[in-house]
Symmetry: C2
Subunit: 310 residues, 2 copies
């Protein structure tokens, strides 16, 4: 393990990246309760939803109400508010989405760019260049209102349409997102193809260009390599990881496959390695088990199934 | 990645360690066909079965017939015999089992010891010390007949009854197995609790004591850490890993949980990292998909489900 801080940041994305890839649509109330349980498990960063059309992404319907309700619960400023110390964020695709987000007083937004030209066209109907113009306007407006901005960069390790993605391109786009005002760039292995050697190479190049503090790594466990990729990231000094409770989520390009790496699996490995996350692993497992019967399939988290060892 | 050979040995244990933990009992014919498909996928080391009582382990019934049939197929010495270059092995618990193995002319046996005193008592009804006396007689007899011997050491990273297992004890027992004549020691994370930091510590100590060439690492993916543990092993120069096609197997101490790491998941990561195994990944995936409908549950291999990326 490379020298460095033993504290690791875990950014919970199950309520957004996870749920938007699930068939089941959870009610606002259940999502609120899930967020509360995550906060009580020690989550300090939760992406709560997305300001996208429920016509296209029905799983995110009611994000505005959900975020408002959570913020109201937090602002009551009760000593026992689960959300007291939690930073909340929401995905916004454009200025219209940002308007919605601003109404809720959420403190952080996220934008979703791609390192693959073909995927950008298919996913958001515009070129990477056009998307950056659009996002620049969103970021500028968000900053005016004092919000921080997370920039997702997807398909950084491979694309279902283009295959290999050039590492130089990924570094260029990540640097561009930083220059545009993103406080953090989340480097996505959106289809779960990355291997640890690739993570070491790309991670080092990214770290050199934009600094470890501005980077989060976002791994999907589609081919089982997510924890190995997190290990490779830790070894080069990266300390921020996105994950999804229970392993919520999937991979639209491999319907039977697993998506986001499960929060409790990440935390199991990290804690056992002596790293600190501030999360309570047993509580996470219980949250995951509480969530399970609400979904239409077995969640892929391994620690949820196996339990904690003595 | 630490300096070292880019060639990695994969020891296929699905037909023994995998199947003996599955509910489904496969016929001798299906097991023969599975072994043939594995050999055609490039497997060069296959553990075919165990000389144990079918009363206790019905899944291993007919191991003698299976091994004899495979050896007969190989000895026909046809140019196209799938098994031509495959080293075959069988687990034997005692001298009686060895007698059975000798009749088949299998070239390698394996014995199964434990680093946990409580597990030894519960699993094989004797102390570790007593088991070593028993195995010494088996190894001596096997060597007289020109066989090589693999020594499994189980519960090296944790025990379901004792919890933590002292690393010094694991090193001591592994050294003892080598001294007794084992050509290779397989270091087992039998209940899938290991983390990469532990693997690095224990792996370095073992390597120092008995040498990388005499070590194989045997990880279960019960808590999702198997590939990360393999990465940690590679980084300290270890190059031999046990795995199980499809992830065949389970964990008797966590009934819902996953057991052996899947061969195709290991090979996916290794090949993508630029390591060589001699195995054909696409063929392995097809073998795993051929096997799936014969089992009573979804095999946990992730690459089997997701497929290979473009």
């Amino acid at each position: 393990m490379a020298a460095g801080d033993s504290h690791v940041r875990i950014i919970e994305v199950g309520l957004r990246d996870g749920l938007q890839n699930e068939k089941t649509e959870l009610s606002i109330e259940v999502r609120h309760e899930l967020a509360r349980r995550l906060a009580l498990s020690g989550s300090r960063e939760i992406e709560l939803g997305a300001f996208v059309s429920p016509k296209w992404v029905p799983q995110m319907a009611g994000s505005s109400e959900l975020i408002s309700a959570v913020i109201e619960e937090r602002s009551e400023n009760k000593k026992d508010s689960a959300f007291k110390k939690v930073r909340l964020s929401a995905l916004v695709p454009n200025l219209h989405g940002l308007e919605g987000a601003l109404k809720t007083k959420v403190e952080r937004i996220a934008i979703f760019a791609s390192a693959s030209e073909t995927f950008s066209q298919k996913n958001i109907n515009c070129s990477i260049k056009e998307s950056f113009v659009r996002y620049k306007a969103v970021i500028d407006e968000a900053k005016k209102h004092g919000l921080t901005v997370r920039g997702y960069l997807s398909m950084c390790f491979g694309c279902p349409f283009e295959g290999k993605i050039s590492e130089a391109k990924v570094v260029k786009y990540a640097a561009k997102l930083k220059e545009m005002g993103c406080d953090e760039i989340s480097i996505g292995d959106t289809i779960g193809v990355a291997d640890p050697a690739q993570v070491t190479r790309l991670g080092k190049a990214l770290k050199k260009e934009i600094g470890a503090k501005n980077l989060a790594m976002h791994f999907h466990d589609t081919r089982g390599t997510a924890l190995a990729n997190i290990l490779a990231s830790l070894e080069i000094g990266l300390r921020s990881f996105d994950s999804s409770i229970g392993g919520l989520g999937g991979c639209p390009y491999a319907p039977a496959a697993t998506g986001n790496v499960a929060t409790e699996d990440v935390v199991y490995m990290l804690h056992r390695m002596g790293m600190k996350t501030g999360l309570d692993l047993q509580e996470l497992v219980e949250t995951s088990r509480w969530l399970q019967p609400k979904m239409n399939h077995e969640l892929p988290s391994k620690v949820k199934k196996a339990g904690l060892p003595i």
